[in-house]
């Protein structure tokens, strides 16, 4: 039997890799893919908890997370297309209209 902690460490590692990708990449599409990576890391830990607690509520939560991820991907990619139409770039460090 694989201990629960192994899954949790794996999930934490994938989540941190996602955070790193989100913070460092210039390409906004790869930033979105890092977001998906973070959502998947959370899903892994939810399914693992569900299995070890013998409770299916984690699986229901994963189901909803996948639904929201699909919605988020479609909206996000539409925003990327609109941005590219206006700015002709996908690099986030070249988008500085708001002077943030």
């Amino acid at each position: 039997m694989v201990p629960l902690n192994w899954y949790l460490i794996l999930s934490a590692a994938v989540f941190s890799i996602g955070v790193f990708g989100f913070l460092t990449r210039r390409n906004i599409i790869i930033m979105f893919m890092s977001l998906e990576l973070m959502l998947n890391a959370v899903n892994i830990s939810l399914v693992a908890f569900s299995h070890y607690l013998q409770d299916l509520r984690g699986h229901v939560l994963v189901f909803f997370i996948i639904t929201v991820a699909a919605a988020e991907a479609s909206i996000g990619l539409a925003i990327i297309i609109a941005l590219f139409k206006n700015k002709n770039t996908v690099h986030v460090d070249e988008m500085n209209e708001m002077k943030g």
């Binding site: 994938v14 998947n40 569900s50 409770d55």
Partner: protein, 173 residues
């Protein structure tokens, strides 16, 4: 006692970490999408290993089948020429190493100190007897019926929003 589960987990954990590193470091976004496809299949196998067949199926169908194809379309719509010649990381990436390393240490420390509460009724035997899809459906359509309806609303808003955002400007103004 057999070491097979540990070996299985070891391979998949190693592959998942290496593949996620490949996803965030490739210069060509098409390569990133392809590595991510492989990554999602490995994660689906991990779900199978945890007795979640339905979740593994929707992982492959929704993530690998729908979301990644959407990513691939957008990557191919935008131009790659410029992408291959410019820097892939922002200048301040060492700070991000610190931040993500700190997040990993914090998460790992809190997750190692977790202690499980009382166990529920859904044993592996029950799920294997009734099948995972049926058990999940029984919970989803009774206890979680209202959130399920909200999820359909979220998807509707996503469809409308994507069309509104990506369509051409109206000429009326």
């Amino acid at each position: 006692m057999s070491m097979l589960p540990q070996l299985f987990f070891g391979y998949f954990a190693f592959a998942i970490i290496v593949l996620s590193l490949l996803v965030i470091t490739r210069k060509n976004p098409v390569h990133s999408v392809m590595w991510m496809l492989l990554l999602f299949f490995h994660i689906a196998s991990m779900y199978l290993f945890l007795n979640a067949e339905f979740i593994a199926a929707i992982q492959v169908i929704v993530y690998a089948g729908a979301i990644l194809v959407l990513f691939l379309f957008v990557v191919l719509l935008l131009n790659l020429k410029e992408e291959l010649e410019s820097a892939r990381f922002v200048g301040s990436w060492p700070a991000a190493v610190l931040i993500s390393g700190g997040i990993f240490v914090g998460l790992a420390a809190s997750m190692l100190s977790v202690s499980l509460g009382p166990k529920g009724n859904f044993t592996v035997d029950l799920i294997q007897r009734v099948t995972h899809t049926k058990v999940l459906g029984q919970i989803l359509y009774t206890e979680y019926l209202f959130p399920f309806e909200i999820a359909s609303l979220v998807l509707l808003i996503a469809v409308v929003g994507a069309i509104v955002l990506a369509k051409k400007r109206m000429r009326s103004h």
